[in-house]
Amino acid sequence: MNDALDVALRLLVVFAVFLVLPLVIGQTEHKVMAHMQGRLGPMYAGGFHGWAQLVADGVKFAQKEDVVPAGADRRIFQLAPAVALLPYLLVLVAIPIGPGEGAVGEVVDAGLFFVLAVMGVGVLGSLMAGWASANKFSLLGGLRTAAQLLAYELPMLLTAASVAMAAGTVSLPGIVEAFEWWWLPWQIVGALVFFVAGLAELQRPPFDMPVADSEIIFGAYTEYTGLRFALFLLAEYAGIVVLCGLTTVLFLGGWHGPWGADGLGWVWTLLKTAILAFLVIWLRVSYPRLREDQLQKLAWTTLVPLALAQIALTGIVKVAIQ
């Protein structure tokens, strides 16, 4: 009975985090982008700096009519947002934020494989949306999504394998446990490749070719309205949380910090995740969109060789220090 209660409580906490953090990042994005671009943005809702704009947006989304195009494949069209969003919830269960059993939703033995596998499933949602909408822009968006995933999945897996080699385990808490400060310079190339490939997998700018609004309206999500559209947006922000959390856990040492490692480890994890999320927003404001061929070229001719070089380096150092 106690065990069941424990599991339920953990899942409840993870679910709460899943509901709160993506919205926090969404709100931060509004404000940070407004400041970086020297504009005000919505400032009235709720009084202080328009803090309630997010709530207003949510209410607006909930009120909108849920339209399914006449030519669409109804059931798949309606199922797609859930397929896009749920994997990120599952991934969040396995990410540890502090040392010990208490600070992770569920210890998964092959955690690294679990998170990468489940994150890959999320893209199926975009593909289903793109195909089922019966819209050529949506279909183009779906095609670009698939091409992008196929290109960037490989470097992501390779760099993740590099960390697993360094730590000698594929369990996420185990990897953070084994972390030493000098892993930072040792794995820095892998970290960059992982982060860039993750951004591309989330279709965040500058890798947002699949939703390029100036060419194909909004890619696979063109036909969506109301809450289902909001779910896709939420999936994007949940994806940012997951990607930043994973990069923190794999490459930045998770709960390790210069001081206060025992009681305040979770603060370090959250802080690193927040800084990375800020970086994601910053990149969106700073860089123009990569063209489709530039996207593919970056993945196959830059990221994959870099990831392979990182694996070779990891192997050499690992053998040398043993």
């Binding site: 092959a110 893209v123 199926l124 793109g130 089922a132």
Partner: protein, 205 residues
């Protein structure tokens, strides 16, 4: 002497895991049937996701966690995405495509039944009435890794050579049509240059 008597565990009092295993197996089987019988192409690919996911769930129930996640990663995450990508490059019509039947129904069924019979026979012959104790995890990552790289390292390496050969073959096949397409690219580039020059002329005027 029946099999049930030989095994310390009876077949007649299944545990919860065994019941779940059978149920997930039925779902997987049904999804697989729908995959090959549905007339809607993209639906077939999506039912394949259900079938492959069900298989991953079966691995999980057998405590082979690592194999389960690799199954999801490779098959659901990559193979099905590739399939969908290929389908989207074709028309991939919404609704039924009655012309998608190749007429090889009976040949395919024969091959499928023969393959299934062979596999079932091999598995039954290999394990007979052995019973796996699932209370302690049997298929953790370290166990799988040790087995793979100690006992099965030669087949593993042979497989990787096979994959390498397939990779090289794919590259050779895709490079075959390079000459004509090169010309086309050059033509297109020349056209683009002409267009750009024309536009520049226009601007100057």
């Amino acid at each position: 002497m029946t099999l049930a008597a030989a095994a310390p565990q009876g077949f007649l009092s299944p545990t919860g895991v065994e019941v779940a295993f059978v149920l997930v197996g039925l779902v997987t089987f049904a999804a697989a049937i729908v995959t090959v019988t549905t007339k809607q192409l993209v639906h077939a690919a999506l039912w394949l996701v259900v079938a492959l996911g069900g298989l991953a769930a079966e691995y999980l129930l057998l405590t082979a966690e690592f194999v389960a996640w690799v199954q999801v990663l490779i098959y659901v995450g990559s193979v099905v995405v590739l399939l969908l990508f290929g389908l989207m490059l074709t028309k991939a019509p919404i609704g039924r495509s009655p012309d998608a039947d190749s007429g090889n129904r009976w040949a395919a069924l024969t091959v499928a039944v023969a393959a299934a019979a062979t596999l079932v026979w091999v598995v039954v012959d290999a394990f007979r009435t052995q019973w796996i104790d699932l209370d302690a995890p049997q298929g953790t990552t370290s166990v799988t890794g040790a087995m793979l790289f100690q006992h099965w390292v030669l087949p593993f390496e042979a497989l990787s050579v096979l994959l390498l050969a397939a990779l090289v073959g794919a590259i050779v096949l895709s490079r075959k049509s390079e000459e004509p397409s090169d010309e086309r690219v050059r033509d297109a580039k020349a056209h683009a240059r002409d267009d750009a020059e024309a536009a520049a002329d226009k601007e100057q005027r």
